[in-house]
């Protein structure tokens, strides 16, 4: 087994208030998907867990699908429920 891979994730709104402007999530693989990243986050940052079922993931400034591959080098952001306008 190699070293874990670190996914840096930008946070906003209530997530930012609970855990700062960004967090590092560790996963064994160098490629993951939104559900796996959220599951790892819930384990490693339990203070965010209640919001994660309502959180979408953006990669490189666009929402991702459930299957879309996410890599550590991507600009990853967690998007809790938005309220623009």
């Amino acid at each position: 087994m190699g070293n874990p891979h670190i996914y840096t994730v930008l946070l906003f709104a209530m997530l930012r208030e609970k855990a700062g402007t960004s967090i590092n999530i560790e996963l064994p693989s160098d490629e993951t998907t939104a559900p796996d990243l959220l599951a790892a986050c819930a384990a490693q940052y339990p203070q965010l867990a209640v919001w994660l079922p309502h959180t979408k993931i953006a990669v490189n400034c666009a929402y991702v699908t459930l299957e879309q591959p996410i890599r550590p080098a991507d600009e990853i952001a967690f998007i809790p429920p938005v309220a623009g306008g």
């Binding site: 906003f12 709104a13 400034c61 952001a77 309220a83």
Partner: protein, 149 residues
């Protein structure tokens, strides 16, 4: 024109940009301006704090404008303000110019809905009895300041 600003909304510039883009083919301009209300669900609002994931918010607003052009064939421009906004201040402007008024209204209304549901912008309502993130699924007041009057 797509813009995120921290000062007063460029309403005139947004409407002018779609009017100039359509030029003499334009018959109607529909504009929506959203402003900060003084109350929300029974709470007396003091001010709002808007924040955003700026590069994505701009990209998403750009995509919405492109989708308006694909669907209705007309130009759409918008701007959103961030930071601390007082009651009555304008937070968003969306403008659509079209040869015909029905399309202008439909496209403008659709674009406003899309901004509210997709663009990564958040607002915290600061009321006399607490503050909270709008659309927070938990929606518990984050702070409950002691009333001194």
């Amino acid at each position: 024109m797509i813009q995120i600003v921290e000062t007063e909304l460029p309403i005139e510039a947004v409407t002018q940009s779609v009017m100039q883009e359509l030029g003499g083919a334009m018959g109607g301009l529909a504009t929506f301006v959203g402003t900060v209300r003084n109350h929300a669900q029974g709470h007396q609002i003091q001010h709002l704090e808007y924040s955003a994931y700026k590069p994505m918010a701009e990209a998403e607003m750009q995509r919405i404008a492109e989708e308006v052009r694909e669907r209705w064939g007309v130009p759409c421009a918008m701007a959103h303000r961030l930071g601390l906004l007082q009651v009555g201040q304008a937070s968003i402007v969306v403008a659509v110019a079209s040869p015909h008024r029905k399309e202008a209204f439909a496209a403008c209304s659709w674009a406003v809905d899309e901004v509210k549901s997709r663009v990564p912008i958040w607002k915290k309502e600061v009321a006399t009895d607490g503050s909270w993130w709008v659309e927070d699924p938990l929606k518990n007041p984050l702070t409950t300041p002691k009333a001194d009057s």
